[in-house]
Every structure is written in structure tokens, then in C-alpha cells.
């Protein structure tokens, strides 16, 4: 059968499967050039790398400059300039912007979302001749240069090598450029070399580290770091994290006080020191006073519990990707699904994102009423001037608010519906008793029920992990019976999942040596920490969910996140002695490098992360899936 590739059918299969995921753009260079020649970026053509750095700095500054709020528009132009200007000049054919002929741009699906978020691929789409996500992009048989923009991973390199080999076999000769994000890895070169395609490729690197997702949130958007570091012991990304933090220090001056909590954090810190040693001495000015680097494995409990704030529930129910959420048509009861951007720019969202879910609905109701009264002002308008004012100023804003409001209301309703269906109350009750450490028997019974009733396996696993974490492992008898039940219900491949979880310390079996007597007297690690840092409110202590004064409101009054308490503890306690004491209770310990203490308690917190995860996504990464 003749396929668009002109290859025999069997040959095609491997190729086609991977094409499905690649987004593909054919570009005409004139347009890209247009970005370069825009006023700010004039320098880029001549002195790409240096200028890209400058623009990069400016772009980050814009982001945080509170006086003069940045616009995404300006920002995305800047990042595209960084993107295209950052390619090393000199080799004429290398950079996208440098040759006047057309090119194909292939973007790693892992990068499209974040790039879209910060730069707007839509912008690329509108400025370029064609942009399609079609799977057969090989149809363009003109000898365009092809540019791959990919994360530097072994798997991606294999894909690219397969592409090129297939194309060359077909007699389609062209030049290729592979741009690796966030840096060029020698091992990737080796793979390309082993596959025999390195000769046809120009390699470049693009230092794209942290994506700004909100004014106080930066993310590397690399979800696989968790698995590769904690499960596979792959240290590759220590470098990625360290260099992203070093870049941050380049932009904001050195950070005088650094605390690391956990094993990986210490490694990141050491590497940061090594990186900075090579550079010149930093100046004395700084904008960021404290840096806390925290390992995820210090605190597994927090992501595994069910958070109850609006934003968290949105993420758990719909999945927020790079700050963008997609409401399906079903949720909105509208013909089309809608994507909206969740950020601090949205005045309604700012008000509700951190509220306990129970108080979101009333707020939205009140807001709707408020909007209505403003809207009714139109009846009181006397003069034409007033009318004009109203139409030009209020109306547009009102309309906008109204639409977002309606989205949030629909989302709330949907979440409520889902939660009642899934017998959410029993689930939460079980979770809370696990945190309290009471009624363990009932909890186990509930988990068994979950398995018997064929609840989604990740939900069950979540409870199992919580059980193990709070109890310092399951007793051998419970472990065996629950594991057997689980495997019988969800398939044998989950055996590997259990081993993974054991390796991570998420779900372990108590050593059979400790008999019943030991269990009674001994308090689990979690319980000790909980006591020390008051993670779990004392029984009888009511947590006000509407107007919270206790951090625990996030988890419906049952639990305060460990990481947050740790940071609080370190900030409040002056002596290093106490940290060390506390550090003994934490895997990997605490390391502090304090150079300059600030006394101000008025803190502005910026969160940098490798990726944003939920309990669901955490477990999904480490659970074994059957190959399709």
C-alpha cells in the first residue's frame, strides 16, 4: 500500500507511531526575521548568545517588576528572541533566523505546553505560513532544513535518529538541526553517532530552564525528574536543577542563606557551589534572602493527602497544565470545550484559588450578585456621557468577569457532583483517621472495600501509601493480604509497582522481627514529626475553614503540610543546633549555609519546582503500566 511516506507499510508503523506526538511547523524565515529586527532585538543578529542572555535577563526582570506589570505579549516576544537568537551565530546555517530558506520546526511535545504558556505558540502559528499538528509532516519534500527542538533525552534521540534514517532511506536528503533543551548532552551525541546520523545534524543547545507560570511560581516542567532521581538513581537532573538556580542567582544576585532539606537538595547545593566557583565573585547586592531546597522524599504525605482548596481540587479533577486548564464541553454544558489561563491576572481566581472549597461556592454566589448590581447600574444612567463611560469602561470588564465567573461556577458544580458520586466522604474520613492514627482497623477495612469494589487503582494505592507512611509500614500479614488482593484485582504487573513503592519508601512491610508488643509502644516516624511540628491539630481543636488562621485548613483541618512547617520552623528558630536535632528525623538531614540573616518577617515567597504534581500523578509515574 502506498502511504504518504512512500515507504512500505511495515516500515512505516514505527515511524508513524512516533509522529503522532510531534507538533510540526513549517516556517518561512522572513517572519522569524521580523522578530529579530524588531527594535529591542536588533543586536541579536550579530551577537546572538550574548544578546540572548541580555534579553533573557530583561524578560525575567519584566516578570517580577511589580511597578510595571509585564504583559505576556512583550514577554513572549522576548522569549522567542531568546529562543531564536540564542542559537549560536557564526555558523550561518545553524540558527533559525539566519538562513532565508524555509524550514520545518519540530517541537518536542513535552515543550509545547510550557513554550505555549510563556511564548504563545499561537503567535508562532499566526506569524508563520503553516502550522499543523498533522502526523505526516514528511509530506513536504522540498529540501527544507528541519529543526528539532527537543529535551535532551536518550529516547528523543532515538526517535530523531529513526526519522532521519527513514527519510534518508527514502532518498529525501536535507539538513537537520537538533536543538537540545536545556543543554547539549554528550551522551545524546553518542546515540546519534551510534545510529549513524550525527553527520547530517548540526547540534545546538538552548538554555531554557525555568518557565515562569505565575508571578510567584517558576517550574522546570520536567515531571520525570522525580522518577529518574528517586527511583532510578539517575543524577542527570541534579545539574539541571543546580544550573537553573544559578541562573536565578545571576538575575537576582546571590542568595545569602541557603537551607537544604534532604539528600538530593544537598547535592544540588554542592553542585551550585562548584558552578559558582568557576565564576567571578558575586556582588554584595541581593534580592532573594533565603533559599530552601527541599527533596520530595522528605514529605510524601502532603501530595498523597487530598487538598481541599479550590485550585488543588481543580488540578485533581481536571488537571492544570502549565497554568492552563481545559474545561470539557460536558462540564460547561456548552458545545465546545474551553481553555482558560489560571493566573494571578484573573481577579476572581485570585480571590478563590486558596479558599477552602466549602467557602468558594458562597463567594461565587455573592460575586454573581455583585456583578448583577453593577450591571443594573445601567438603569440609573442619566446622561449620554454616563452611558458612554459605562459602555467604554465597565461593560467590557463586566462581560469578562461574567464569563470567568460562569466557568468557575460550572467547575464547582462539576467537582461537587464528582465527589458525591465517588463516596468522597468516607474516603476523606479514612484519610483523616490515618493522619490521626486512630481506627486503623476501620481504615484497612475501607481500603479492602476499595479493592473489592474495584475503585481506581491509584486511589487505592494512595490510601495504602498513606497507611504505610503514617504507620511506618504495614504489618507483614496486612501487607501480604492487601497486596494479594490488589494484584488479583488490578493485574500482576502491579507487582513491579509495589517494588517501586518499596524502593521509594512509600509502601513498605514492617520487618517481621518487630512483634505486636513493639508496635504498641513505638511511635512511628511520622507521628514523632507530627508532634514536634504540630502537623496534625489536636483533637477537639476546630479549624476555621472559612476564615482560616491555621494552615491545616488546606487539608480540611486535618493536616498541615510538612514542608511548609519545616520552612516555618527554620525561619523561626535561630540556632543551628535545633535544625540538626530536627534533621536527624528527616531522611537526608538538613544542611544550612547561613551568611546573612534578615530579621524581617514580611516574606515574599517564590516557588521554584521541577514540576507540579498531585498524589495521582506522583503514583502514576512510578506505577507499572502494561505496554499497549
Amino acid at each position: 500500500m502506498e502511504t504518504p511516506l512512500g515507504l512500505a507499510e511495515e516500515e512505516n508503523i514505527g515511524v508513524v507511531r512516533l509522529f503522532k506526538e510531534w507538533h510540526y511547523v513549517t516556517t518561512a524565515c522572513v517572519n522569524i526575521y521580523h522578530i529579530n529586527s524588531s527594535t529591542d532585538m536588533r543586536a541579536l543578529g550579530t551577537n546572538g548568545m550574548k544578546a540572548a542572555k541580555v534579553v533573557g535577563v530583561r524578560y525575567f526582570h519584566e516578570l517580577w517588576n511589580k511597578e510595571q506589570p509585564f504583559t505576556w505579549n512583550r514577554c513572549h516576544r522576548a522569549i522567542f528572541a531568546v529562543f531564536f537568537g540564542g542559537l549560536r551565530p557564526g555558523k550561518n546555517h545553524a540558527g533559525l533566523s539566519r538562513t532565508p530558506d524555509k524550514k520545518d520546526l519540530v517541537i518536542d511535545p513535552d515543550l509545547t505546553k510550557p513554550l505555549d504558556r510563556v511564548a504563545g505558540i499561537g503567535f508562532l502559528r499566526q506569524d508563520l505560513k503553516t502550522f499543523s499538528t498533522a502526523m505526516y509532516f514528511m509530506c513536504s519534500d522540498q529540501p527544507f532544513r528541519r529543526v528539532y527542538l527537543v529535551r535532551a533525552s536518550l529516547l528523543n534521540m532515538k526517535y530523531i535518529a529513526d526519522h532521519i534514517t527513514a527519510e534518508r532511506k527514502q532518498g529525501n536528503i536535507r539538513d537537520y538541526t537538533v536543538i537540545m533543551v536545556p543543554r547539549r548532552l554528550h551522551v545524546c551525541e553518542l546515540i546519534l553517532e551510534n545510529e549513524g546520523v550525527l553527520g547530517h545534524i548540526t547540534l545546538e543547545e538552548f538554555h531554557l530552564h525555568l518557565f515562569p507560570l505565575d508571578t510567584d511560581l517558576l517550574s522546570l516542567e520536567m515531571p520525570d525528574i522525580f522518577k529518574s532521581f528517586y527511583l532510578d538513581g539517575d543524577l542527570t537532573h541534579i545539574h539541571t536543577v543546580a544550573s537553573s538556580l544559578v541562573t536565578l542567582q545571576h538575575l537576582y544576585g546571590w542568595i545569602p542563606n541557603i537551607h537544604t532539606i534532604g539528600k538530593g537538595s544537598k547535592m544540588v547545593y554542592d553542585m551550585m557551589q562548584a558552578m559558582q566557583e568557576e565564576e567571578q565573585k558575586q556582588e554584595a547586592k541581593f534580592h532573594i534572602g533565603y533559599l530552601f531546597i527541599i527533596d520530595r522524599d522528605v514529605d510524601y504525605i502532603t501530595p498523597l493527602c487530598s487538598p481541599m482548596t479550590y485550585e488543588a481540587l481543580l488540578d485533581e479533577s481536571f488537571g492544570i497544565q502549565c497554568g492552563v486548564i481545559e474545561f470539557s464541553a460536558e462540564v460547561l454544558a456548552k458545545p465546545k470545550s474551553v481553555k482558560i489561563l489560571l493566573s494571578s491576572q484573573d481577579p476572581i481566581y485570585v480571590e478563590i484559588r486558596d479558599r477552602h472549597f466549602s467557602s468558594v461556592f458562597p463567594f461565587l454566589g455573592a460575586k454573581a450578585k455583585e456583578l448583577k448590581t453593577i450591571y443594573e447600574k445601567k438603569n440609573d444612567l442619566k446622561t449620554v456621557g454616563d452611558m458612554k463611560n459605562f459602555v467604554s469602561q465597565d461593560l467590557g470588564r463586566l462581560k469578562e468577569h461574567q464569563t470567568t465567573l460562569s466557568y468557575h461556577i460550572s467547575a464547582c458544580e462539576y467537582i461537587m457532583k464528582m465527589k458525591t458520586q465517588l463516596d468522597f466522604e468516607s474516603y476523606i474520613r479514612t484519610e483523616h483517621s490515618l493522619l490521626d492514627g486512630t481506627d486503623t482497623k476501620d481504615c484497612i477495612a475501607y481500603i479492602e472495600d476499595c479493592i473489592y469494589k474495584q475503585a481506581p487503582h491509584l486511589t487505592t494505592l494512595r490510601l495504602l501509601c498513606l497507611l504505610s507512611l503514617t504507620q511506618d509500614g504495614l504489618t507483614p500479614r496486612e501487607y501480604k493480604s492487601l497486596k494479594t488482593d490488589f494484584l488479583h484485582s488490578h493485574g500482576f504487573e502491579q507487582l513491579v509497582t509495589f517494588f517501586n513503592l518499596k524502593k521509594l519508601g512509600l509502601l513498605v512491610e514492617q520487618s517481621s522481627g518487630s512483634k505486636v508488643t513493639a508496635v504498641v509502644t513505638r511511635r512511628s516516624q511520622f507521628r514523632q514529626l507530627a508532634g514536634r511540628l504540630s502537623l496534625v491539630p489536636k483533637s477537639g481543636e476546630e479549624v476555621n475553614l472559612k476564615e482560616p488562621d491555621n494552615l491545616a485548613y488546606v487539608y480540611g483541618g486535618a493536616y498541615s503540610p510538612l514542608t511548609v512547617r519545616l520552612v516555618e520552623y527554620i525561619l523561626l528558630h535561630e540556632s543551628l543546633q535545633t535544625y540538626e536535632d530536627l534533621g536527624r528525623q528527616i531522611a537526608g538531614g538538613i544542611y544550612s549555609d547561613v551568611k546573612y540573616r534578615t530579621t524581617s518577617k514580611d516574606l515574599n515567597i517564590i516557588v521554584c519546582t521541577t514540576s507540579i504534581l498531585t498524589g495521582q500523578s506522583l503514583l502514576e509515574q512510578v506505577s507499572e503500566k502494561k505496554p499497549i
Binding site: L154, L155, K158, L185, H186, V187, L190, S228, D232, G233, D234, L235, T236, I238, H239, M267, D270, M271, A274, E278, E425, E448, I451, Y452, K453, Q454, K480, S481, K483, T484, D485, L487, H488, S489, H490, G491, F492, E493, L495, V496, F499, E624, K626, P627
Partner: protein, 831 residues
């Protein structure tokens, strides 16, 4: 008298001054040598040419000797390759030898062989007759003329790319003369064929040119020369006519009739303003306006080297420089000059004599004193003799005193430049640069040339004197020095390493790995290892260690650096170069390396991962990998086999539980195959629960029963499975029968729940009455009987249940909610 050696040529003056008395005087006879000298005061190569001695051709290979510009010998070798057609220098001061088979050999000035390249197959096949070495826009080019009279050329001897020029029509004898002209990034050849002139270019085009002459019968073109900047060309005809013009041959600059019938021995441009032709004992300098100067010569053999601002003349005894007298010098020293500079110079002279005339002169030029000072400074730059330089600088300094706001930079710079120039002109160094040439060449290049001549000490002193930043000046030179030093075989490695580290440690920007790699190239591995120890950047250190076969240290350093990419580099290199056992031994001891390699294997091939774990003797991991792999296998038998292996591995670890689970899985898979044969549909990859579920839905109850017994399914799970499956299948009769079979361990409420799940309220109600009171509330809510649920809860006196009902009711029914609140209040008061 300053103007003693000046000769007028039209409006200008030309001067010829001796630069050096040659050290080779009395030893070397230029008549017996072919000469090639580099521009910018570069070294001179002599090839003892047997053919010049008019002897019978012998097979004796020529001797090549390189001297500096002052005739001091640098090195000498006996040639041992093919026949040399042409010898010449590149702009990097490498010596090129073009052989008659088109092979070009590159030597440095110490006559160390560097590399070789060829001018193409055609040249090799037909041999070449002549060659030109020229300066192109990219570096140094080589052009050859083959025996078939084709011209091939390269424009950059560092990356030779052969260009074939257009053919000259009907050229079947060797052209009477030819040369290369570089214009606007285009290289063209100028070929004279008797009376015809052709310009041939790279694009395959040729142009016939007919330069306009005053006289008709000028004869054939027998010689030509291209000026240093490629802008001008001069032609010499068989009747002794000289034609000067722009290099496109369309614009004439001048013409001159020498009335000489014989071709000059040497023919070259002096700068851009005059042409020099040399016959046996006469040298003629011809300017554009038919002016001329005649110099008698005492020597028979000389050699001419065109420079940007003049012409160097080498003879057996002297090294002279012929140039147009620079304008400023002319302004100051010309007899009767009234230029401010000249007056200032005179004033200073009088001042030295303490004569009042000094004041007179000064007054005359008071308004133009700054100009006068500048002229003196400039003129000093163009003078060769330090005494004259001093006089001029003194004059400038004297004039400076009378200026209030004169910026001293020009003066200071000139002092510095002169000091450097005088140093490099010294005959031991032998670089007779003029100020103009230095400006063209630039100071960094001059320093590089000193380094090239291994005059490290002088180069460092100059850098220090000129305050060149360490990174590009001193440190770089020291690194070069070290690279040179490691080649000295007579020194002990320990001592060398110590000496080098002493001079280079604490100097940022010095790459020890570069030095080490030079040492390695010269076969000094021990030294290279020692030097590498000083390298701080792992990314530089590791690849070299690998190259030297120092695998274990390379791996250790890579891991220490924390850069996993480096670790990978080492690992993959090791895998290819070590045998498997050694390799596993090595990574066994380094867990970081091990897990990285594991990652790599995982992407390549799962079997490799298994092997790796086998090497580690970790049966647990082997088993897991096998399990993962089993899912990628297509047919059942190999899958079972793989799982059996996995089970054995678990057995080895003593993990009986996992072993049992694996065995169960195999049992299940076998049973699923039986089912497939029997029922004709696939159960592959379903879990036990799902299999039973599917079977129940189909009504194959005896299989379910069998599985239940075989796998010892707990009652509760069995019941839940069966109840859900029956409900989904809509087999309500069977469900009812099942509910009555014995007391359900999951309670009747489960029946209600599943019925409602499939929206069968009627069936649900059947079981409702049989639900025990303590579980009834939930079931009642489930079927939507809130009132009854509230009553039941109140009866149970259970606050939680009441709250639960209240939570469910709230929005729908206000009255009922009130009732429930009433119950709650009652319950509370009763307490």
C-alpha cells in the same frame, strides 16, 4: 644629512637604507639558491638549487635552510620528498612547498613537518609546471599551472578546496608570464600568451584584455607583477616597454620605455607608487609619470620582497629597504621645508645649542605648534635609526612644553611602539618591521609571531610593558611555552611537570589539558598524566584521560564532577574499549555510574538490563526486569517461560511471597488459555478479578467456582465481584438467588448499592428490607428514601448518621431538613 640617501622621483622622494648587514655574509651565495622570503619582515628560506649551477642534473636532494631576516640561521634540512616547483610562505609564517605532482607540504619555520594536502587528481596525473603562492581574502592561496596549461587554485591553505579556473583559449605552450590577482573576494589569473592577455576567473569566464599603449609595436608580454595590495599590475614587454595600470587592466597609470630588450631578472612593485626592475648590475625604479631613478649595484644576485609600504632587497651582504619617503618625514627633512614640524625640529636643534634662534623659530609656528608636535611624533615612527627617532621625539617633547592642553597619548604610544619596534628589529630577533607595517599587522599578531619564533621571554616582556591583560597576554604565552617545553625530550618528566606547574599554576585561563594533550601527542604519557592533575575543569580533563587509557581515574573524576554527561561519556567509551568482565567490575564499585549505565541500557534493550543485574547478582531486580519484559512478548509460551525464570529468581532471594504470586500468575495465564480455547474469546492480560468478573457476566459459573477455589479468593471479594458482575449483566434473577444462598459477608447493603448503581430501584427495594438496621440509613439514602433514613437514624440514636442524612437532604427538601435538625436537637438534649 638626513636627505643624503633620498632620490627624487617626480614629486616624491625615494630612499634606500640598509637594515641589516647579513650574518650569512661570506657563507651564502644567493646565486646558487632559490629564495623565498615572507612579508612583514618574515624569515627567509633558501633552497640550494643544483640547476642554477648549470651542472648535469643529479639526484641529490636540495638542502633547505631557513634564516631570519638578518641572515641568522634558524634551521636546515635535506629535502627528502619529490621535486619542488615552488616554495613560499603563508601569512601564518608556515613554509609551503609545491611539488610537481601537485602535493603541497606544509612546514613551520623550524622546518618541522606539519601537514600535507594535494591540489587534485588532475594535477597529480599530468604534473605541474609552475605555481604561485599568494595572499587571498581567506589566508594564503596556492595556484598551479599544469602541464596541460590549466590553472587550479585554493584560496586557503588551512582548508584546501580546489577551484578550477577557466581555460585560456588555444593555450598550448607555457604562457610567457602569468600571475594571480585577488579582487573583491574573487581570485583571478592573469595569463599572457604572446601578445594577448587574458583574465580567467573561477566562474568559468575568460576575458581578453588589450591594455591601451602609446605605441603599437610593443612586442609580447614577457613579465608582470602585481602590487602588494592587488590593486595595480605592471607588464613588461619584449621591447622593454613597461605598462602600469589598475589590476583590471582597463585603467592605465603610466608607461615607460626602458629600451631594454632583455627580461629583467627581478620585477616587482615598491609599495604602490613605483616599479622596480633589476638587471645584472643595475636597478631601475620607475614612477608613473615616466620619472626614474637608477641605482648601480655591486652585487650580482639579489632578491626582492614587496612589502605594503616598500620593497626589501636582500643580497649576499646586506638587507636593504627601499621606500617612498613618508610624507611627514619629507615635510620635516626636505631641504628648505617651512612646515611647522621642520621648524620645530630646527628650533629644538638650536635649543640644544642654547641659541636664541630657537625662540625665533618657535614664534613662527606658535599657532600650529600642535601640528608640529604631531608631525615630529609621526616622523619618529618612520625612522629606523634610534638616534634619529630620539631627535624627533625630543623635538616633539620640546614643542609639547609650550602647549597647555596637549593630550600626551600620541607621544606615549609612539614611545612604546618605537621601543617595541627597536626590540624586534634587533638582529637576533630579526623582524625589520616599519611603523606602517606594524599598524597593518597589529600588536597581537606581532606578539604571536614572537611566540612562533619561540621568543617567549621577549613576548612576555612586551606584554608586560604594554600592559596587555594577562588572559590574552602573559598567560597565553606561558601556555605556549609549556607546550613547547613538553616537547623537549631531554628533560625528566618529574622536573618538567614541576617547572611547568610552577610557572602556570594560579594563572587563570591556562588550560593544563591542552598542554597535556600536546605532551601526549609527543608520546609523553607519564608527563601528560602529571600535567592533567593540575587541570581543574573535569570536562577538559576526562576526555584526555580516556584518550590516554586511564579509564578508572577518568571515571572517578567524572563522577566527582557531578556532571552525569561526563560520566556517560566515560562509560560508553569504557564499554567499547574494555572487555565485559572488566567493565562490570569497574562499574560495580561505583553506584552512580552503575545506575546511569542502567538507565542507558533500559532505553536500549531490557535484556541488557537483565545481564547487568546478573553481573550485580541481584535476583530481585532480574526478576522485576523479566516481569516487565514478559509483557513485551507476544505469545504466551515465552511469556510463561520468562515469568518462570522470574519466579526462580524470587526463589533465590527467599522471597517466597513474590514467588507464590508469580506462580499464581502463571497458573492464571494457563487457565486463561484454556478458557480461550473453550469459550473462543481472549482473556489475556486480564487480572484474576476481571477474569472472574467477565466469566460471571457470561454465566460460566463453574469456571468462576474453579478459579475461586484454585486461587483461594476471600469470601468478601468473591461476593463483591459476583454481585457487581451480575448487576452489570442485568441478571437480576441470579442475583436474587445468590442473595439467598447464604448470609452475605458483605451485607445486604451491597446489593442495594449495586442495584442503584445500575438504576434499578425496584430490585434495590427487594433487598432493602433485609438490610440490618445499623447499616440501613445509608441504603435508604441510596434509594432516595430520606424520610425513612432520617427516622431510622433517629431510632439508631446515631448522631453521625443524622448528620450524614442532613448533608444529603439540605438543598432538596427544607422541611425534612428541619425534621432532621429536630432529631439532632432531641438527641443532644437527651444527653
Amino acid at each position: 644629512m638626513a636627505t643624503a640617501d633620498w632620490n627624487p622621483l617626480g614629486d616624491h622622494y625615494y630612499r634606500k637604507c640598509e637594515v641589516y648587514a647579513m650574518e650569512w655574509s661570506g657563507v651564502v651565495d644567493l646565486a646558487k639558491h632559490t629564495v623565498a622570503a615572507a612579508a612583514y619582515g618574515g624569515p627567509i628560506a633558501l633552497m640550494k638549487d643544483e640547476s642554477k649551477l648549470n651542472r648535469v642534473p643529479t639526484n641529490i636532494k636540495p638542502v633547505i635552510t631557513v634564516y631570519n631576516a638578518a641572515g641568522k640561521i634558524i634551521n636546515q634540512i635535506r629535502w627528502n620528498s619529490g621535486t619542488i616547483v615552488k616554495m613560499g610562505w603563508t601569512i601564518m609564517e608556515d613554509l609551503l612547498f609545491v611539488q610537481d605532482d601537485g602535493v603541497v607540504l606544509v612546514y613551520d619555520m623550524f622546518l618541522t613537518f606539519k601537514r600535507t594536502f594535494s591540489m587534485g587528481q588532475e594535477a597529480k596525473d599530468v604534473k605541474i609546471l609552475d605555481a604561485r603562492i599568494f595572499t587571498s581574502f581567506q589566508g594564503t592561496g596556492v595556484a598551479i599551472m599544469t602541464s596541460t596549461f590549466r590553472i587550479f587554485l585554493i584560496t586557503n591553505s588551512d582548508s584546501p578546496r580546489i577551484i578550477r579556473l577557466a581555460e585560456v583559449p588555444d593555450l598550448n605552450t607555457f604562457p610567457s608570464c602569468w600571475d594571480i590577482v585577488v579582487m573583491d573576494r574573487q581570485v583571478r589569473a592573469l595569463v599572457a600568451k604572446g601578445r594577448e592577455l587574458f583574465i580567467v576567473d573561477q566562474g568559468g569566464q575568460y576575458q581578453k584584455q588589450d591594455p591601451q599603449m602609446d605605441r603599437e609595436d610593443v612586442g609580447e608580454y614577457i613579465d608582470m607583477a602585481v602590487s602588494f595590495n592587488n590593486k595595480f599590475v605592471v607588464l613588461f614587454t619584449s621591447t622593454g616597454h613597461i605598462w602600469m595600470g589598475m589590476s583590471d587592466l582597463t585603467t592605465k597609470v603610466g608607461e615607460f620605455d626602458t629600451k631594454s630588450g632583455s627580461k629583467p631578472q627581478h620585477f616587482a612593485w615598491c609599495g604602490n607608487g613605483a616599479v622596480v626592475a633589476v638587471w645584472e648590475r643595475i636597478m631601475l625604479v620607475v614612477g608613473p609619470q615616466k620619472y626614474w631613478i637608477k641605482y648601480p649595484f655591486k652585487y650580482q644576485d639579489i632578491h626582492l620582497i614587496p612589502e605594503v609600504d616598500g620593497l626589501r632587497i636582500i643580497s649576499n651582504d646586506t638587507h636593504e629597504f627601499l621606500q617612498r619617503v613618508p610624507t611627514v618625514v619629507e615635510q620635516i627633512f626636505k631641504i628648505g621645508s617651512m612646515e611647522p614640524g621642520a621648524m620645530l625640529y630646527e628650533a629644538n636643534k638650536e635649543y640644544q645649542k642654547q641659541h636664541q634662534k630657537a625662540d625665533e623659530y618657535l614664534r613662527m609656528i606658535m599657532e600650529k605648534l600642535d601640528l608640529a608636535v604631531n608631525q615630529c611624533i609621526q616622523a619618529a615612527g618612520h625612522e629606523f635609526e634610534p638616534a634619529k627617532q630620539k631627535q624627533l621625539m625630543r623635538a616633539a617633547s620640546f614643542g609639547k612644553c609650550f602647549l597647555t592642553d596637549y593630550r600626551p597619548e600620541a607621544f606615549v604610544n609612539m614611545c612604546q611602539m618605537l621601543r617595541v619596534l627597536n626590540q624586534v628589529r634587533h638582529h637576533t630577533v630579526g623582524i625589520p618591521l616599519t611603523y606602517t607595517q606594524l599598524e597593518q599587522l597589529s600588536m597581537p599578531v606581532l606578539i604571536d609571531r614572537l611566540v612562533l619564533r619561540k621568543l617567549f621571554g621577549l613576548a612576555i616582556l612586551i606584554c608586560q610593558y604594554l600592559r596587555v591583560p594577562d588572559a590574552e597576554g602573559e598567560n597565553r604565552i606561558r601556555a605556549h611555552w609549556a607546550c613547547y617545553k613538553v616537547q623537549q625530550k631531554h628533560m625528566e618528566e618529574d622536573q618538567l611537570a614541576r617547572v611547568i606547574s610552577q610557572k602556570l599554576l594560579e594563572r587563570p585561563g591556562v588550560s593544563f589539558s591542552d598542554i597535556a594533550s600536546v605532551a601526549l601527542e609527543h608520546g609523553r604519557k607519564v608527563l601528560a598524566v602529571k600535567l592533567l592533575d593540575f587541570e581543574t575543569r573535569a570536562s577538559e580533563q576526562v576526555p584526555l584521560l580516556l584518550k590516554m587509557g586511564q579509564q578508572a581515574p577518568a571515571l572517578a573524576k567524572a563522577i566527582e564532577s557531578g556532571d552525569t554527561d561526563l560520566v556517560y561519556t566515560v562509560l560508553l567509551n569504557l564499554r567499547d574499549n574494555l572487555d565485559a568482565a572488566q567493565f562490570y567490575m569497574l562499574i560495580h564499585t561505583m553506584p552512580i555510574a552503575f545506575s546511569l549505565y542502567l538507565q542507558y541500557c533500559r532505553h536500549q534493550n531490557l535484556q541488557m538490563v537483565e545481564q547487568l543485574w546478573e553481573q550485580e547478582d541481584n535476583p530481585n531486580e532480574i526478576a522485576l526486569t523479566k516481569i516487565v519484559r514478559s509483557y513485551t512478548q507476544d505469545s504466551l509460551d515465552p511469556r510463561i517461560k520468562t515469568l518462570e525464570d522470574a519466579g526462580n529468581c524470587f526463589h533465590r532471594t527467599g522471597n517466597t511471597f513474590a514467588e507464590k504470586l508469580t506462580e499464581e500468575q502463571i497458573k492464571l495465564m494457563r487457565y486463561q488459555r484454556r478458557l480461550e480455547d473453550e469459550l473462543g474469546r481472549s482473556f489475556a492480560d486480564l487480572s484474576l478479578h476481571k477474569t472472574m468478573y467477565e466469566l460471571t457476566k457470561e454465566g460460566s459459573h463453574h469456571h468462576v467456582e474453579r478459579l475461586r477455589k484454585d486461587f483461594k479468593v476471600p469470601d468478601k471479594r468473591y461476593w463483591w465481584m459476583r454481585v457487581s458482575a451480575l448487576a452489570e449483566a442485568g441478571d437480576w434473577a441470579e442475583l436474587e438467588k445468590f442473595s439467598k444462598s447464604k448470609k452475605p459477608p458483605i451485607g445486604m447493603e451491597a446489593f442495594v448499592e449495586v442495584c442503584m448503581k445500575y438504576y434499578n430501584k425496584q430490585e434495590a427495594l427487594k433487598y432493602l428490607s433485609r438490610v440490618l438496621p445499623e447499616h440501613k440509613v445509608k441504603s435508604l439514602v441510596c434509594v432516595g428514601q430520606f424520610q425513612e433514613a432520617a427516622d431510622q437514624a433517629a431510632e439508631n440514636k446515631n448522631e453521625d448518621e443524622l448528620n450524614y442524612v442532613l448533608g444529603k437532604v439540605k438543598v432538596a427538601d427544607k422541611q425534612l431538613a428541619e425534621t432532621v435538625r429536630g432529631y439532632l436537637a432531641q438527641l443532644n438534649t437527651r444527653r
